[in-house]
């Protein structure tokens, strides 16, 4: 393994996925506490319900700036504002939902998106029987309208919920239409140009991961298969 030295990137280096994932959890937790009227919090209190150690909390947050106050901890509302800005969720993200099968329908109704500023503003499908159908304030549109709709509604992100066989070709069309971030729900890997960000969610593969953990924990602790209350 050779390591070719690269020039140090500026101040905007990308934090590791695991750090961003935990920061999303902190934000969720902070919003919950803010709703309950809490004002300040320590790193230990923030990490405890998430089973994350306080040193880890401090290290993660330090990626993005200096937020804490010695002896006080973090101001919850300040930290919420700062983390929303860091994550890019202090403004609305218009989304395109591409593929309106069962999963697409579920994502349209998923509250976890809407509550965080992710708003589905266009729905596309290739099926002539679905095109033109009205859903609430949206109409299912044909893929041929992609370029025009993405530009007109300033859409940057897409939820890709099409069958595996067409995932790559539809992703290519999304990129050509100007989409710069794709959340891939199709159970297949897709390849994108470097300037396009990708998150893949292969639910089947994740379920395999769960099955593997269950198998292993049986092997590791054969006597411990009885449910214990806690």
């Amino acid at each position: 393994m050779s390591s070719n030295p690269k020039p140090e990137p500026a101040t905007v280096k990308l934090a590791p996925k695991a750090v961003v994932g935990r920061v999303c959890l902190y934000l969720r937790q902070l919003e919950l506490l803010h709703g309950q009227g809490e004002i300040t919090i320590s790193s230990a209190e923030l990490g405890a319900p998430l089973s994350i150690k306080n040193a880890q909390v401090r290290k993660d947050l330090a990626y993005f700036g200096q937020f804490g106050h010695p002896g006080i901890g973090y101001q919850i509302d300040d930290l919420i504002g700062a983390l929303r800005h860091v994550l890019g969720v202090d403004h609305e993200w218009p989304l395109a939902l591409v593929g309106f099968g069962n999963l697409g329908r579920a994502l349209l109704g998923y509250h976890g998106f809407r509550s965080r500023g992710f708003k589905i503003v266009a729905i596309f499908d290739a099926d002539p029987a679905k095109i033109g159908r009205k859903l609430d304030r949206l109409v299912i549109e044909p893929l041929e309208s992609l370029l025009q709709v993405v530009a007109a509604r300033q859409i940057t992100l897409a939820l890709l919920c099409v069958p595996a066989e067409v995932a790559q070709s539809v992703a290519d069309r999304l990129v050509a239409a100007g989409i710069v971030g794709i959340f891939n729900f199709a159970p297949t890997p897709i390849h994108l140009p470097e300037h396009v960000s990708l998150i893949g969610v292969d639910l089947g593969a994740q379920l395999e991961n769960l099955a593997y953990k269950v198998e292993k924990s049986r092997e590791l602790a054969p006597g411990a298969s009885q449910a214990s209350s806690y």
Copy 2:
């Protein structure tokens, strides 16, 4: 649940999540190639379409055994069988689907589960308006039937698709009923006893991760926002 003690915990250590995730991808790729009539494959050929280096492929597979033959590579059908066994997907997993909102409905129809031996054999919901509704070969059942149904149908895994507010309490009931692996789709972290395996899928948090990547790639390369074909 039989408890035959196998006292060799050294050989059965849990592989890291990232390794298992990649092994799931290899399995998918191998199944695809097997369907196309391929017989053998090298680690480089296996990794290439997944953008994974051959050294990584070999290292990942070595976690689970010695599969390759020098000069030949891997026998595809042997490797498929071995990996299915390793992942615990060489047998069927009966699943409980808990919470039948939009997401639950989508998961019921998700082909990525059924094609890998994950079979939904029970559906639960707390809503009296939904209980008793027939879906294909299943009937939506009340949470009160959990204990009995889980035992009768030998269910070990559950897909938790309930609202965030009740996720923990429903998870507790699943554990009490004997469930040993939970796939949490509720947009909130849940806490489980140590013997229960957990995979969390917070789609909103993952979308935030995507948004963050898009924001950062804009900052890192402000001129590169135009779509390029490839």
